[in-house]
């Protein structure tokens, strides 16, 4: 009793458990409207069809002024568009990835 007497003065400590779950909800915003592109008419002109082209072009557009682009530059333009297309697609995929990541887990919510 003498050796354990001090324990009478110190009661058993009580454990307090506080469970606090904080889940952030990120609202998914609407995507921008799709692009509306205009048609572009391409003419490929060489010595073979130059005369024919001028006649057809004048008849159709009423003038013989046009913007010419070399084959090499056309290729570059194509590659530039391919790059833009890649960027748009990858950007969209990253957005989809984030949307999936922040989307609430339906299975987990059902359990709760």
């Amino acid at each position: 009793m003498l050796t354990t007497g001090c324990s009478l003065l110190t009661p058993e400590p009580q454990i307090k458990i506080v469970t606090n779950t904080v889940k952030t909800t990120v609202p998914i915003v609407a995507h921008p409207k799709q692009v509306q592109l205009n048609d572009v008419k391409i003419y490929v002109v060489s010595k073979e069809n130059y005369e024919e082209f001028v006649k057809e072009f004048e008849a159709k557009n009423g003038a013989d002024a046009y913007i010419a682009i070399s084959v090499k530059d056309y290729e570059n333009l194509s590659l530039n568009f391919a790059e833009l297309r890649r960027y748009i697609e990858q950007q969209k995929q990253i957005i989809v990835y984030y949307e999936e990541a922040v989307k609430p887990d339906t299975k987990q919510e059902k359990k709760e």
């Binding site: 058993e12 799709q34 048609d39 069809n49 990541a101």
Partner: protein, 143 residues
């Protein structure tokens, strides 16, 4: 004298019995608290295990999403790669000189297809997972 010793001994015994009673009572009280603590710790352990499971599930989900994203990002490179290969394969200048009409038609079709693809991939109502549209470079002299 003898009776006073007896009284003193009885008092000592009573005090000891009282002390022992208080000690046992205190022990019982502590035991109850300890049992309650054990119960709480079991609950805490279960919560902790559930949290761990949740974290593991999240990690698995994120790994799957990462894998899917990497695959999708790779797919998006396909169009450009195919276009580069097509342009390297064909001498467009030579073909344009020899068969301007044919090349014009192919270029026009490929350009129209590119516009359609761009409209399609930017459509918010389309399937969320970016569709792997046909590369658009099937046409040998496309843009």
């Amino acid at each position: 004298m003898f009776s006073s010793i007896r009284i003193a001994m009885i008092l000592v015994l009573l005090t000891a019995a009282g002390g022992a009673f208080l000690y046992v009572k205190n022990l019982q009280k502590n035991l109850e608290i300890a049992q309650a603590n054990v119960a709480k710790m079991e609950v805490a352990l279960e919560t902790s295990e559930a949290s761990n499971k949740l974290l593991q599930d999240e990690a698995i989900k994120n790994a799957e999403l990462n894998k899917q994203l990497t695959e999708d990002l790779q797919k998006a490179e396909k169009y450009g790669d195919e276009l580069r290969a097509t342009l390297q394969k064909h001498n467009l200048t030579h073909l344009a000189n020899k068969k301007p009409g044919l090349i014009e038609k192919r270029m026009q079709n490929a350009t129209n297809k590119l516009w359609d693809d761009l409209e399609s991939i930017t459509d918010p109502n389309a399937n969320d997972r970016v569709q792997s549209t046909d590369s658009g470079t099937a046409d040998k002299n496309s843009n």
